[in-house]
């Protein structure tokens, strides 16, 4: 294990910036922490319990141009826009978000491989940060995630006056070696490891008394897909939904997208990909119209995908990491915990 004094963190940021593009939680003008490129004058918020949004944009930007069509008379030229080459380092990734990237990998790296995602993902080194102050909206433990040990290339912990640093993967080792050679990181004594263990234990203790400590998605839900699909509870649950896209856009595992053309000028058209949301009326719109015409159907789609379809196709893994962003951000306080509990009550325990 290595370490660096908190006061010397700017030195670490600069060293990382020299290796690749560094992204880390910075406060935006509203005072929220969000992943942003490192700048000397940025207000860095490494200790923010959770960023406003996850870092999924790094691999899967909200909008990206895939192709440009250029016409000149009868000539047509195609130009593929490829993601820029170069290392990206994302620092301060929490355990929930780290798991979400593995879930996204299952979608984008399965054949047919999404080359745009793959390029960005392979160029990226993730530096995780162990949680020390989970919030009441946290429930990552429901998905077997250890808040104190993010599944990243490097794990770090802010403990006492130091940032403790542990390489996990080969990419992590390589990055660590560069920083050790550069004299940025120094070998930590045994007490650093003890401080980390102590923090991890403390975090677990807090999680065990928070309101969602015993929340779990009931596995029975995936056993009878049609029963859950036809549940009477959906209408009741969806009643308050505004059909906005907040939950899907702040969710670290939501990954639906649309591909469309935008004609900029007579001669130039962009084929772009953009985030899509199953809450939107035109989601998966086809020539015959929308396959889900009502709000209830669209609402059901989102939760069926996360709690039933995804685990059915991915060895039981739910498309949720318990980050709690939907609990914090939904304008009308609808969220996956509420839905999973209501479904369990209605369809597993049968006590509506």
């Amino acid at each position: 294990m290595y370490k660096i004094a908190k006061d010397n963190l700017p030195k670490l940021y600069v060293a990382l910036q020299n290796i690749g593009t560094l992204l880390l939680p910075c406060k935006n003008k509203s005072g929220h922490a969000d992943f942003a490129p490192y700048r000397e004058d940025a207000e860095i918020a490494l200790d923010a319990p959770l960023t406003n949004r996850s870092a999924k944009d790094v691999f899967f930007p909200q909008v990206e141009n895939l192709l440009t069509f250029k016409t000149s008379g009868k000539e047509l030229a195609l130009e593929q826009n490829v993601p820029p080459v170069g290392v990206t380092i994302v620092m301060g990734v929490r355990a929930c978000d780290a798991r979400s990237f593995k879930i996204l990998d299952k979608v984008f790296l399965k054949a047919p491989v999404d080359t745009y995602y793959k390029t960005r993902r392979e160029q990226c080194v993730l530096i995780g940060l162990g949680c020390s102050a989970p919030e009441e909206t946290c429930f990552c433990h429901a998905f077997g995630i250890d808040a104190g040990a993010p599944e990243t290339d490097v794990q770090t912990w802010l403990a006492g006056e130091e940032l403790c640093w542990q390489a996990v993967t080969a990419n992590g080792e390589e990055l660590t070696a560069k920083l050790v050679d550069g004299g940025v990181l120094v070998e930590a004594a045994a007490d650093a490891a003890a401080a980390v263990s102590e923090q991890q234990e403390h975090t677990q203790k807090i999680l065990s008394v928070l309101p969602l400590h015993d929340f779990k998605v009931n596995d029975e839900l995936t056993k009878d897909e049609l029963k859950v699909f036809h549940s009477k509870i959906w209408e009741q649950l969806a009643a308050g939904c505004l059909s906005c896209c907040t939950c899907t856009y702040v969710c670290p595992t939501c990954h639906c997208y649309d591909i469309r053309d935008y004609q900029e000028t007579e001669e130039r058209t962009q084929r772009y990909r953009c985030w899509d949301s199953c809450m939107a009326k035109d989601f998966t719109l086809m020539a015959h119209g929308s396959p889900r015409k009502t709000k209830v159907e669209r609402f059901r789609q989102r939760y069926m995908h996360k709690l039933v379809y995804f685990p059915e196709n991915n060895e039981g893994e739910y498309a949720c990491v318990g980050c709690g962003r939907c609990l914090q951000k939904c304008p009308v306080q609808l969220n996956i915990v509420k839905v999973a509990k209501a479904l369990e009550k209605a369809e597993v325990k049968q006590d509506v």
Binding site: C245, Y249, Y262, Q270, Y272, N335
Partner: protein
């Protein structure tokens, strides 16, 4: 407000049981004590799960569009500020008066859990109000905060305890938050900026937008059947914003579209997941309408036409309105 909660549950159950209404719109509890959510109930025995306290910020009037479409007579519990939205929906012919049963629900200001947390309260178990103070019961003991410091921003511009539409009032009005400052102070601050500064301010605010449309979807003035930004085949389709300009256009176009119809309920800014000060755009329009056409409050009643859709001989000419701005301000 606990007394009011009991009255609310009782009245909702009565109205459903006697068949006065088919549906009731109110609030029910969330996962925690502070995340009460909009609730629609249609049977009297569901009414005991309805809640009412300082954490029921949502304005329920937008759901009336759906219930009106369904032809269902609906009782809706409305805080004083929420009643403006109902009037505006009536004025815009988006809901039917005979299908709405409006119940005035006293409010003494809604609390902002984010502000309570930001004030340093950790491990919060519950929150109660004691006069001008908020008592925060935490795992580490009791903490007292000034209520005025932890009210929702929208409550700092409280329009008073009067209901602008109500078929009945649930209880005696409660004292509402008193706001003594100039509600246009921030707008004036932005007006005083140079064009470059102002552009930079809005660029910085609006570039945070993730186009989730929550501001639009909660807005009682945004009541189009199909929003232009949802049309997949237009270059302005919401999901497709190609650059920051489109992002900014969305909010500016929306502000223009609701000008004269925005009641200043502040829900847009409250629900924004990115914390954008959207209310400032709308308030700029309100301030201009007041200075060009005389004092006007959208939603104060359901009849008076907005200044922009009515003509008076002394209305300023389009150009003079712009050129003469300084005199009007």
């Amino acid at each position: 407000m606990q007394k009011i909660e009991k009255l609310l549950q009782k009245r909702a159950a009565e109205l459903l049981a006697e068949g006065t209404v088919e549906r009731v719109l109110a609030w029910h509890a969330g996962e925690f004590f502070y995340d009460n959510a909009p609730a629609a109930v249609s049977s009297a025995d569901e009414c005991d799960k309805l809640v009412y306290n300082e954490f029921c910020p949502a304005n329920l009037c937008k759901y009336l569009i759906e219930t009106s479409h369904a032809g269902k007579k609906t009782a809706v519990f409305l805080k004083p500020c929420d009643t403006y939205g109902v009037n505006q929906l009536l004025k815009d012919n988006r809901i039917k008066r005979e299908l709405v049963y409006a119940i005035g629900t006293p409010c003494s200001g809604m609390l902002d859990i984010k502000k309570i947390k930001a004030a340093g309260a950790k491990g919060i178990i519950s929150v109660s109000v004691d006069g001008d103070e908020v008592v925060v019961n935490t795992a580490y003991g009791e903490k007292r905060l000034a209520k005025a410091d932890v009210l929702l921003n929208k409550c700092l511009m409280c329009k008073g305890a009067a209901y602008k539409i109500a078929d009945e009032e649930l209880a005696e009005p409660l004292p509402v938050p008193q706001f003594t400052g100039d509600k246009f102070a921030k707008v004036k601050e932005i007006e005083a900026m140079s064009a470059e500064e102002r552009f930079a301010f809005w660029q910085s605010e609006l570039s945070k937008c993730i186009r989730c449309n929550a501001c639009r979807d909660i807005c009682p003035a945004c009541s189009c059947e199909q929003c232009i930004f949802d049309k997949p085949d237009t270059p302005v389709a919401g999901k497709a914003y190609a650059d920051e300009v489109e992002e900014q256009m969305y909010h500016i176009i929306r502000a223009f579209h609701v000008a004269g119809r925005c009641t200043g309920c502040g829900e847009c800014a409250r629900v924004c997941p990115q914390g954008i000060h959207l209310e400032l755009l709308n308030m700029k329009f309100m301030k201009d309408i007041n200075s060009f056409f005389g004092q006007y409050q959208a939603g104060a009643d359901s009849e008076t036409p907005a200044p922009q859709v009515s003509f008076k001989q002394n209305d300023p000419e389009a150009n003079s309105a712009v050129e003469g701005r300084e005199q009007h301000v």
